[in-house]
């Protein structure tokens, strides 16, 4: 059987296609670095004494996941539907799960690449402290990627055109990014803003990754929330998916 060969091939091709699109490459790889530079120009520690870089790199890693999962992934899928790329694939023996899975992995590899760039620049340029709980950060990052991209798959599975998917994706991404603490540190947000932000599906990812990085205890509720979002949104996405 050719299953593994099939999925690795599709992943490799999809990743190359994303990287060849200047907009996607810019958004996922360069834009977060610009954000890092902007956020760290003043270099003031956060209230509580945490060096700004040690909060900003974990925060922006969620920003990168959000861009890949909520903006680029749905735009790719909906664009494929609009251009009838999906229709052609449907006439092959490839299962929807394989195609879905390959898209998901390719976009998460993009997010991983963006995150690694942030970490490298943080280490070299800004004296980033290594994560206290590496396993915890990896777990939180993966759950964050799963939960946010299942929402992205839901959008991409239903919206008829790439343009509409981009508009919806950006409409989800920017408010979430600013309210959840992926752009503005939670410590400097007002109580009410934080309360609203905590209702967005991006907030658990921000909290878990920052807790893991700082070596604070990670809340099982936060991790469980991400699993729940993944199961529910992912399940609905698979059922609602249109070719």
């Amino acid at each position: 059987m050719n299953g593994m060969n099939g999925i690795t091939n599709v992943i490799a091709v999809e990743l190359k296609l994303i990287m060849r699109d200047p907009m996607s490459a810019f958004f996922a790889l360069a834009f977060p670095l610009i954000m890092l530079w902007v956020k760290l120009r003043t270099g003031k520690p956060l209230p509580g004494g945490l060096p700004a870089v040690d909060a900003t790199v974990p925060m922006l890693s969620v920003f990168v996941i959000g861009l890949a999962a909520l903006v680029i992934l749905p735009a790719t899928l909906a664009g494929y539907r609009e251009r009838r790329v999906l229709k052609r694939l449907r006439a092959t023996p490839a299962s929807p799960t394989l195609l879905f899975g390959a898209q998901w992995v390719a976009h998460m590899l993009l997010a991983a690449l963006g995150t690694m760039l942030l970490i490298v620049v943080g280490l070299i340029g800004y004296g980033l402290t290594a994560p206290a709980n590496v396993g915890g950060v990896l777990l939180a990052w993966t759950l964050g990627a799963l939960s946010l991209s299942s929402i992205g798959l839901l959008v991409g599975g239903l919206v008829p055109s790439g343009r509409a998917a981009t508009v919806i994706g950006l409409g989800l991404f920017f408010p979430m990014g600013f309210l959840s603490g992926a752009v503005i540190p939670r410590e400097t947000m007002s109580e009410s803003m934080r309360a609203i932000g905590d209702l967005t599906p991006m907030a658990p990812a921000v909290r878990a990754i920052r807790d893991g990085w700082a070596g604070d205890a990670m809340s099982p509720v936060t991790l469980g929330l991400m699993v729940a979002i993944f199961v529910v949104a992912g399940g609905v996405a698979l059922r609602a998916f249109r070719w």
Partner: protein, 238 residues
């Protein structure tokens, strides 16, 4: 050996082109043409036979399989070129062939297919940069890369210039020489006459005539298949 046995196929849509009791037999190794005016139901017949659409009624066996209940098994053994289907703009010819080959259990060697269809020089060209003729050539190669026993080609030469059309005809004859059964949907009668062993003419969801090009020309009391087609569909006088 029969490639397709279709009896009383029915499919209706809200406001779409219906198929109303079509029966066809396609033998292994032949080029079988499905011709008819736009909206006659040709594409619907192909979509039902290739497992892309569920039929409302009738019996249908393709390579001995039911396109609905044995869909995945059937898709391993057929190749499809669809009207209006596309590839991502940035994908390269070689990447597309390699990726599509990897989706099948027993594919052909994609490099050989690429070579046989003259695509090796274009392997690094992006899909969006290809001309219509090269795109069609790539779609034929993609339909064959899974090493199918049967291929469906839907309006393959629409939009091609005359020389690209003639080249494509040669490629389709080559497929038959390799033992692949070809179902060719077309509304060009010169194409059907030049290529097909047998043709079914479809109008308003029904088969109105079936036979070899020669038989149809005789039956239509005409000199060419195009004249016979116009006589048989009753559209020559309009």
């Amino acid at each position: 050996m029969t490639a397709i046995e279709m009896d009383g196929l029915r499919k209706s849509y809200k406001g779409g082109n219906a198929v109303d009791g079509v029966s066809l037999r396609v033998e292994r190794g032949e080029i079988f043409g499905i011709a008819g005016p736009n909206g006659a139901g040709k594409t619907t017949i192909v979509e039902c036979a290739s497992g892309l659409r569920r039929r409302d009624g009738g019996t249908l066996r393709v390579l001995g399989l039911d396109p609905q209940s044995d869909r995945r098994e059937l898709l391993q053994r057929i190749g499809v070129q669809l009207q209006e289907a596309a590839l991502p703009d940035a994908i390269k010819v070689g990447e597309a062939l390699r990726m599509y080959a990897s989706l099948y259990a027993k594919p052909a060697d994609w490099r050989e297919v690429m070579d046989e269809w003259g695509l090796t020089d274009k392997r690094r060209a992006g899909f969006a940069s290809l001309s219509g003729g090269w795109k069609q050539r790539l779609f034929i190669a993609l339909a064959l890369v899974g090493n199918p026993d049967l291929v469906f080609l839907d309006e393959l030469t629409t939009g091609l210039d005359p020389s690209a059309r003639r080249t494509t005809w040669g490629l389709i004859r080559e497929m038959r020489e390799r033992g692949v059964t070809v179902v060719l949907v077309t509304h060009f009668m010169d194409e059907a006459e030049a290529l097909c062993d047998r043709i079914a003419i479809i109008d308003r969801g029904r088969v109105i005539a079936e036979g070899s090009p020669r038989e149809l020309i005789t039956r239509g009391r005409s000199d060419s298949l195009e004249d016979a087609y116009l006589a048989l569909t009753g559209r020559g006088t309009a």
